[in-house]
């Protein structure tokens, strides 16, 4: 009867021969006929599921794309033998590789102030600090003096060490024995953005 809604039959999504597609008849051994039909049924079902997933993406609010905090440099931590694949691949240039020799011992700090401008260290520069280097006289170092950080050139004074600025407006700092003094690391490079 026409009035009752008919849930049965009707076109099924993706079923049937696609219009215009050429068909071919195949002969199979009689005892293989049912397994092949079963396989085709499952295969078609799988194809249908994939087709459904492509339909209408649901709009969602943006999630944080990264669940973790990324380390500041993207160079992989080298842990032992180099990979044989590395030799065959020309990788894009990576600033980290240029500036960072020892990832586990390298840190970055930002500069505030102008006491080292004559040495090319300017406000807002990011300095690369390598804690694996043994500080030598003449090195630019990040030092801790009485609990304060300071960037200066390491020098040798009468009584001990001295911290030398690279700007005529600043005095040389002679380290006295009663002061707490430690070199945090050697400045091996810097990064600066103009724009």
């Amino acid at each position: 009867m026409k009035n009752t809604p008919n849930n049965r039959g009707g076109a099924r999504l993706g079923a049937g021969r696609k219009a215009g597609e050429p068909t071919t008849v195949i002969r199979v051994p009689a005892n293989q006929a049912q397994p092949i039909r079963d396989f085709l049924a499952v295969h078609t079902k799988k194809r249908l599921q994939t087709a459904r997933d492509n339909v209408a993406e649901i709009v969602e609010p943006a999630l944080d794309t990264e669940p973790v905090s990324l380390p500041l440099y993207t160079t992989k931590v080298s842990a032992g033998f180099p990979s044989p694949a590395d030799d065959h691949v020309e990788k894009r240039l990576n600033p980290s590789e240029y500036l960072v020799d020892n990832t586990s011992q390298t840190f970055f700090v930002r500069v505030k102030g102008d006491s080292m401008i004559d040495a090319g260290v300017f406000e807002d520069d990011v300095l690369v600090i390598d804690r694996s280097r043994v500080p030598q006289v003449g090195d630019i170092v990040l030092a801790m003096l009485d609990g304060e950080f300071t960037v200066k050139t390491l020098g040798k004074g009468k009584g001990g060490a001295r911290l030398i600025p690279a700007n005529k407006r600043y005095p040389v700092i002679e380290i006295k024995s009663e002061q707490s003094f430690e070199i945090w690391g050697v400045v091996t490079g810097s990064m600066r953005k103009f724009k």
Partner: protein
Amino acid sequence: MTPRVIALVDVNNFYVSCERVFNPKLHGRPVVVLSNNDGCVISRSQEAKALGIAMAQPWFQLREIAEQYGVIAHSSNYALYADMSNRVMALLNDFARDQEIYSIDECFLDLTGMRGKQLLAHARRIRHSIRQWTGLPVCVGIGPTKTLAKLANQIAKQDIARGGVCDMNAMSDEERKACFSHMPASSVWGVGRRLAEKLDRLGIRTVNDLRNADAAMLNRRFSVTLEKTVRELNGIPCMEFEDTTAPRQQILTSRSFGHYVTDKHELREAVTQYITRAAEKLRRQASLANTLHLYIRTSPHNPDGKHRCPGITLPLQQATDDTFTLIRAGLYGLDHIYAPGYSYQKAGVVLGNLEPRTMAQGNLFAARDKRRERLMEAIDTINSRMGRATIRSAAEGYTQVWKMRAANKSKSYTTCWDGILVVNA
């Protein structure tokens, strides 16, 4: 068989020490680090310990002492701690033929083959180098078994005269006996307060008592683990680097593969599986994880000699129990530590820095992809078992509570360009 030489290296007061590296003004002051959610003490400087501040003590209880003695409290900065941990572990790896990372600030090193003055010099070099390269102070305890190495580490900490290093192998029997008879049985790895009380009733009070106890009897009365502990105290190794045990308050899922795995895809599948299982355990105990540690190992007995055991600790941007977030983190970590051309024998996942779940972290929105669908179904099933209210309360109260905490969190000195130290030139 060559006697084993095992070292346990750990960072002193790890979280506080990390903060001090970037803030020298904290040196010599009483400093504590507080957990995210509850504001309980999870790390103390020596000065804070001297004031009587206990581990896990709630911060609100300490406000008076804090004001009176100038105690500085920092909120936990897992991004910083995880990164510093990764540095320390990567550097320590080069000092030994094998390494097993035990927690965020401890690892075992296999130094078999070294002994005497050479061994002591090596241990001192480890201490000096880590201090130089990362600013973190470590102690080194050495013994023929893991349990004794842990004990030696404690002795190194307690006795400042030893310079942060203690080699049990170098001690005479009398010296060892003297040390052990002054340490309570609860000092031993794996013996908690409750077990110590039960042992006390059996007349086992000191480490020495435990060492001399009848191992087989203890197995019958308690567990095979305790028997192993007793044997290890007597210098018989029972816990290999391959048998990882999870420290308390962490969830470990690991397995040795039935065959050597070289393919990254297979490792990805294994890691995904382990994380899923670990996350289930996490939700069952109503906890959230702040860090995920992933490691993969080749066999140290490999005939071709190529052995590596990299690990990485990943800080999660917020405490979570969401399988999908954890899997993303884990696979990101795998990308960093995987190297082709090695035969991996084992992988493991540790969910650490747990905190109780006061609000549920339901993943309300998720992109439709088949794997996620199945995960969401799993999560939904669990949520339905725990009551619909679980999801509702997350939407209601989540933001508010979370924003109140982390009041005094230090900057992300090593993981965020906006957070790096600003220094005067």
